[in-house]
Subunit: 252 residues, 2 copies
């Protein structure tokens, strides 16, 4: 992982090093590489959408947790946009539900989280608990994986129509939406990080926090790989435990 630094980096060097950690962004996970190449089955796409929905619902929750930990007024005025981006009518939550319908899932099954794998739940809940329990600046800078997000969203916009023509186009609205929202979020997140993480110890702490966030995203992909590609969801080998809840139903 990223080695501990022993000297204070300039803001430019600090930003460069944070951006360099994008080598570990889940765009490089074999599951996403297969998705990009068009190799995912319908079940794998549905499994990803259903499990990702748990992460999506966690975003405004963790942003509210951050706001509850006393950021200054000026930061709260900006941070609240993240909540409304997701929660408002026509916002990110609704857009992901549209994606769910576009890949053939029932809205109620998404909302009930019936297909969410335990490993995914634990990883996402770790993010929420971090936002609740840590000082607001630490949780704020953990959002910086958004530096890498526009690339993966653009990838999907570019390749899904040809690779997965069975997915309705309306489902791509979330990715389109995030292209500009993520860039705006990063401006605020990065300015907090470069300004506030201004000692050797704090810069190293920032690398640890970003690593933690990258680990969450990578772990989610590992869980999907295990359950949908290797067909080893929890208790897969236990007689009589058919994991009805974990079987994605491909509705045509």
């Amino acid at each position: 992982m990223t080695k501990k630094m022993s000297e204070l980096l300039s803001k430019e060097e600090f930003e460069a090093k944070l951006r360099g950690m994008g080598d570990m962004y889940h765009i490089h996970h074999p599951f996403h590489i297969r998705m990009y190449k068009g190799e995912c089955t319908k079940e794998e796409i549905q499994g990803w959408v259903a499990n990702r929905f748990y992460y999506q619902t966690a975003i405004p929750i963790k942003d509210a947790a951050i706001m509850s930990n006393n950021p200054p007024l000026e930061d709260r005025r900006k941070w609240i946009d993240r909540i409304t981006d997701h929660d408002s009518v026509g916002g990110g939550i609704e857009a992901w539900l549209e994606l769910g319908e576009a890949v053939g899932l029932n809205k109620e099954d998404l909302i009930s989280h019936k297909y969410v794998l335990p490993a995914v739940k634990f990883a996402v809940d770790a993010y929420i608990n971090f936002a609740k329990q840590r000082p607001w600046k630490e949780a704020a800078m953990s959002s910086l994986t958004e530096m890498f997000a526009p690339q993966i969203h653009q990838q999907r916009l570019n390749t899904w129509p040809d690779n997965y023509p069975w997915i309705e186009a309306k489902g791509l609205r979330y990715f389109q939406k995030r292209l500009s929202e993520a860039r705006r979020d990063v401006q605020h997140g990065l300015s907090i990080t470069l300004e506030e993480f201004n000692t050797v110890e704090l810069q190293n702490k920032a690398f640890e926090i970003l690593q933690f966030k990258l680990d969450i995203l990578w772990t989610m992909c590992d869980a999907l790989y295990l359950a949908y590609e290797l067909k080893r969801p929890p208790y897969f080998n236990i007689e009589g435990y058919e994991n009805e809840q974990r079987k994605i139903n491909c509705s045509e």
Copy 2:
């Protein structure tokens, strides 16, 4: 998983149904089946011991969290034994460190948690956060996987000397210790559960909580399978990220 019941079960039926969930106990995970049969490599045994140590250190912490949520005096008098079982001189923490040495790990590497996989950390932290955030009775009954633990500890005592003769015998002290401690713990945990979870809703809640705890243990095994059997620890395919921290060094 366990279907929701619609009628109140007698205490005998309730206990039988809880015990029946042992079909999903991690003794049945393919990783533990291989371990039982003597098929694990030294690296897999070391990886398991190092990652399980994170769970071991969480036990007295989650028990303190339970005690901080206002159990009655009589329950606190008993529950504190769980903390001293692990934390005292010669207790469970020290016994697991002895197991670490017995399988060839460095004590400092165990204590620093350098080999702990993210998915394991997230699963164990979910248990700690549950104990912090839920009413004490819910967290207390989540300890009931101890109903199934003596069998897996006895298995290890029976089979490790022949299957893994390179492991020093002193390393087995933890398993021996837990045979009696777990049985005593279950008496208290079960009496709380049968007494307090006394409506249909509460009995169904108890099944959900035990499922959550079984999911934590199963998820840990999945992470070990991925990292040590499939050799796919986090970022395994990323050029230049050798996961030095995740490579178990087999010291002879």
